[in-house]
Symmetry: D2
Subunit: 472 residues, 4 copies
């Protein structure tokens, strides 16, 4: 998972306004990636300026860095930690120079045919400096640009070749471009600023910059921004029969205040709770949530069930991600430091705990244990999604099947593992209803094992197949 952003601002302005806007935009998207971040800006007639580093947005970019990044157009990227590739070479945006100009790419998603595409390019004698699919996208785009000389034609060809998820912000010779894959798997939207345009993974980045949300980038669309005062030029290159919006964005990934493909995520999560209360009622004294991911659904559950909502687990707001856990025997204390139980709130009570999903089950078990240790009589877990049984090949660092508890175990087995008195997962139908789309417009690969694009060795539906029949 990653977050991307791009701005195209009016000149003249303070020369580092674009850099600051990207900085704040990335800060608003920090939840989509905490491993590294980067900003590239450009200005007419001048080369691009870049700053990137490992860590969180505010630690990477000092005010002096931002002041150095002069330009009126730019893109930015935050990256999630995925094993083995944590090195500065893999940080984005990725910048390259080629015969006719320069290109900077920020990418959210994952290519399913990365290995074949890279092997093909290597076969042509090309060399690579990173292990990211972003570099492959950059090489292919340059290749097509050198053939077609036209960005729209080059991107159309690119879309034909790439299989997978890709929302992109690009700087193509100093101009901002936004692209979303034909199935619209990862989100991407645009907004109007007082002094220009912004594209971002989630609408929250637009809100933060004081902008007005305009619309989502359409599946298969390319948007080319030509200065602050001109409407961006759009081309809908592919039009799939259906879409494949990632359902996990609604369950967990996106911020609750984001508007994704027309829906406020918070509303979806409240509805999830309401439907969960209908599907899996329980006799209880209190409904509670695992902070912060389950709050909206717990409120929805409480509303529908009539059982009062209370906070029972208090997060220490001062404990950051850089927290030190130095000694094995102190680990348990570190957990308590992060999340403390409001003892009297649960003592001798029957508690319904609502959370968004279960991955390995160990975190949930620790929570159930904590509640029981403080005297909870019964703990009923209610999960706002069906069991996650399959990995994601389209950009979410889901665990492998072996690590996904629901992939190996029945619901009853999971219930016993997590020490809960009862366990209820929301049905796929319920979840789809809560999102408010039909299932065929969503990617539910992690829940069903059926993917919207061909993944070697996995089941997939024909959605992507139809794509090639579309005329642009």
């Amino acid at each position: 998972m990653c977050g991307i952003v791009g701005v195209s601002l009016r000149e003249p302005l303070e020369p580092h306004r674009a850099a600051y806007s990207l900085y704040y935009g990335l800060y608003a998207l920090q939840h989509r990636g905490q491993e590294s971040a980067g900003i590239v800006v450009s200005r007419d007639g001048e080369g691009s300026r870049i700053s990137k580093g490992m860590g969180m947005v505010p630690h990477i970019f000092a005010p002096d860095d931002l002041k150095r990044l002069q330009g009126n157009v730019g893109i930015g990227h935050v990256r999630y930690s995925t094993t083995g590739s944590s090195r500065i070479e893999n940080c984005q945006p990725f910048i390259i120079d080629y015969k006719d100009g320069s290109l900077a790419v920020a990418h959210n998603g994952n290519l399913v045919n990365y290995a074949q595409l890279r092997a093909g390019l290597e076969g042509e004698g090309r060399v690579f400096t990173s292990t990211t699919d972003t570099e492959v996208i950059a090489h292919l785009l340059v290749k097509e640009l050198l053939i077609h000389k036209d960005l729209v034609e080059a991107v159309r060809e690119l879309m034909r070749i790439l299989v997978g998820a890709y929302s992109l912000t690009l700087l193509v010779n100093g101009r901002l471009v936004a692209i979303r894959d034909p199935l619209g798997i990862r989100p991407l939207c645009i907004g109007r600023l007082e002094n220009g345009w912004v594209a971002a993974s989630e609408s929250v980045a637009i809100d933060t910059l004081g902008g007005r949300f305009l619309r989502d980038v359409k599946p298969g669309e390319i948007l080319m921004f030509n200065g602050a005062d001109e409407e961006p030029r759009s081309a809908r290159l592919y039009r799939a029969a259906t879409t494949a919006h990632c359902i996990f964005e609604y369950i967990y990934l996106a911020r609750p205040d984001a508007i994704l493909d027309g829906r406020l995520v918070y509303d979806t999560r409240v509805r999830i709770g309401e439907l969960l209360a209908e599907e899996h009622p329980a006799e209880a004294d209190v409904v509670t949530s695992v902070p912060d991911s389950g709050v909206a659904s717990a409120i929805g559950y409480s509303d529908r069930s009539g059982i009062p909502y209370r906070e029972t687990l208090m997060k220490n707001r001062y404990v950051g991600r850089t927290f030190i856990m130095p000694e094995a025997e102190m680990r348990d204390i570190a957990v308590k430091l992060k999340l403390n139980v409001l003892g009297p709130q649960v003592k001798d009570k029957r508690v319904i705990v609502v959370d968004d999903s279960i991955v390995r089950g160990t975190t949930v078990r620790r929570i159930v244990d904590s509640l029981k240790a403080r005297g909870a009589r019964e703990v009923h877990m209610r999960i706002g999604s069906p069991p996650i049984t399959s990995p994601c090949y389209l950009g979410v660092d889901m665990k492998s099947k072996g690590e996904l508890i629901a992939s190996q175990h029945s619901v009853e087995e999971v219930r016993r593992f997590i020490h809960a008195d009862s366990l209820g997962y929301l049905s796929l139908g319920g979840l789809v209803r809560a999102v408010g789309m039909t299932e065929k417009h969503l990617c539910t690969g992690c829940l069903t094992g059926v993917y919207p694009v061909e993944v070697p060795g996995e089941k997939w539906t024909a959605r992507q197949m139809k794509l090639s029949h579309f005329t642009p």
Copy 2:
């Protein structure tokens, strides 16, 4: 406002277990002070070891610092920023050596007669290295110890002299001591650990260390810990007719998961919301809170009023206290970055917003404005406390009268200032009912201007007067 902690652990153990326990205890009390922190540990037959610094707990103490702090008994302190005194000399604990031994002091509270006491000591030729009342307490205690040779007698004399609020943890020649002033103004409680004892400002520090909450230290009590396996020795030196527990701890200061003088703060805050709904009902579509301080009261308001509770203001969890706001024109963006409105949640709706208190009114006004900017039809502010009209002389860095909006303006004037459609403060009677004590057991100085001890130029009740008649 400050937070204090102390531990007395069993030997032999890992030599830095006490330091780690104090570190985690202070981390749990971080909300009580973010300006500086310090830890002192000691071990039989060896001098004390100290580490302190400016900033937040995890930035001050590196693992290597903690490993250096070998000992089985110790105290710690976090300090709140108060103007003008932000220097390393004022960091606590305060350590001194004297003829018969050594003393370390961590103090939460404020002495009203600090200036007179210090002048008296200076008149005897004594010198001071800081501007804290803690140093005055240390000097006076040493003076009494040299006279009485007995700690209990010395502290009894100390209590006779000191006027104001003081919860203390001390190391007296390597032994942990906990003291609470005769009116019990600031909180202090003790707990049992698997391997010893802990004293702390709030029970959350005990929870974090995996300990069992035992009880509050009683007003006027001294507790002397003599090793991990022996019960602490207690002496009740003064017994006031009433107490003067700070009511603002319940309103805002303490963590919601703390148990203060027998009450879970969260429960009090839910009750505040319930009573607020009774005192100040409003026709509305949604009840919401200012995160995180108003959540519990908003839930209580929703429960009692039947109007659904929803989150409408989303905090960016990644924005820390060290946030950079470099350019004036970017300030507004920085505010939006911290707190984003869930637009669709408030558009065309009548919104009740619950918060704990109003100090200057500027923050509340910005929130009302944000909600209206996103389409809220009406905004009704409900405040979980009466107007704050007077400064605090007993340890809370309240603003001066001039800065307290309610001190200068009527409720209607405040309502207009904050742009709200209506404004309702909880009555003092309601607040006291919510806390569940009688008013005479509480200090309500900031709300009433009447204090429980003599403050020159202010009204005060006779509570402290009676004190001198008590026999220990």
Copy 3:
């Protein structure tokens, strides 16, 4: 200017021994580049590991970084700051993956035909991520490797194409390779370690690792290291009629304790001083030097002239490169802090000051002024090289002609500018004699404006022309 190093060590050993050896080797070469540094290591059957960053060696590599860099073979690089290119993308070693494997390159030197080579590669559709000639070398080498499949053949072709200075250490599929250009412009030598082999820009890196200096890499030679116990395989690919060793390495660049092409640099510098005393004698009371660059020559001057050598300018050893000069009016103090005059040593005396070279003249003038301010009666500047009149195109960041004072002004004009009573430059003949080679084996471009390779718009001799006639 840059410094490079490479090691090939025996297995099994501590897994991070190679990284530590490279770290210490780079530390010994720190004078050749303080802007950035990087280390790449590799181990059979595993990919390469890299760490690089901006700044000085000890600040870039923390012990934890080095421990992570497991492998028994590796290369390292320190880079000098050159305007405009100070960004992490330009840090070396440069690593790329290609069809048949991977390549890491560390480069010291400069390609004169960089722009043409890069344009040619871009014309083939290739893309670039940096603005360094190192990336061009890497692309060309991969291209030749894919054609010839044999490293020696590929490098022979590379040498035919590249025009300029290049000493290289490479990792080619996990094996250490060292290459020096056919004119031997930049230094490169090899040494034997107890547990393997080392190649480095200067012998001081070998000394530091406790190794035995073996010999310089020959102009036009490739050395391939195949494990710690086998002699490296050598191939002399080109044999120029003459060489073009950089004369400025002897004057200033190399450390005095380095052995370059068979000569101890310190000895050369003492001889420079001796010949300077013969060419430019002066009546004086004391001979002194600008620390640290002129010490050896001043001692040589003193020996030959019989005038006693004394230190008169004392460097503050604690003033580092990161020194803060915050206020304009404090600049003068900052200069005095760095270099203090031993007043009584110069008062009423006639002083001969020996330095290695004059670039802009401003530093020398400040020194002359300081000595006169403390009472020196006469100051006679003696410079251990002829006037620097021309830029360097072969790897030294000399100033442009406009900034080189001797390029625009006569010796008498320079003397007046620097406020000296007399000024004597060593003749080219004297300098060449001091080095102990014939002039045709040296590059004297910066002193004569005649270069050993074709530089557009500049005079050059035919040395490189002959190259193409040699058979490998």
Copy 4:
């Protein structure tokens, strides 16, 4: 060992000029203490401002710290690391407030009767926050000030009580004061700045600030500065029959460019080398030094003996004090990194190595071994001082007798231990001649075991005894 400085500057000026001047002054004195540093400034009618910390001057004081330190008068301190007391509480200057005002003290030296003085003060009920004799001095001075109300009288009494070495700069109620003990053991001098006055441990701090050296503070003198334009008021409180200037300042401690009690240290060190050549001639090919401490003496030795001086040991100027030596087996490499031998300079040669002193002998042995490993035929060590046989009680952190090799072993035994072919120490007579005073004006305790003040269990002369008979 420590370094102290004080300034009294004219108003109005930039408000942080005093802080910057103290910063640069301390930077110039960094060689006298690298453990911690502190600065205190004051301005009429305002309290003092302080900043201090552990480490080196440039790392402790950021530009923002200095800007915060507004005032026109101030003092500063650098502190040397002595075992066990490395904590922020012991950093100087030490500030206290008392009945009639405030006092800040920076101290260089050591009190021999510290323990008795502190016990006496503790007996009066006083408390201490540090383990430094500086705090004792501060308490005693306040005590006398409260009695005498007059600074001169108070200091006269202080001088009667204190036994040992003390050069002091003080801020007494916002005025700069400089004091030197009656024997003048540690140095202290004053200078004129364009905008005020400066007092400092060594004249190099005056040079750095662009000031004019005026004179040393006289033994037993107090100087009171009253603004920038008035001459400081002086009082000579005690006049010892002789002085006891520390001879080790000339041998090693002071910077070579310092003027101590009228003598340029560099000149003394050259003379040391000349006399050493007379006392201990040797047949040799080259004279060399251990950088940087032995350079001046080696040059003197070369001059007198006619044997050429050459550098043979090259220091890596980039290796700082914070150097990491992570692995035992890499230690040897770390040593080589710091100091490399110029092999050809010593191969097959007879080498005379001049150094200032021998403490434990291990460093010298490593140097002799290094030279022999690179082929030196003979190594003759010449030491610019007599054997150090006794500890220092007056402010230098000399080792204990057990660690001083010359305390336990004959010269021949030391020679064998250090692997030298011959070893010659300068005689005490020679050293005294080189300094140019009579022996009775110098403290030679570390060389003779006879001290100028009473040290329990050690021999001492009557110098201090006479003191009490002097009338002020």
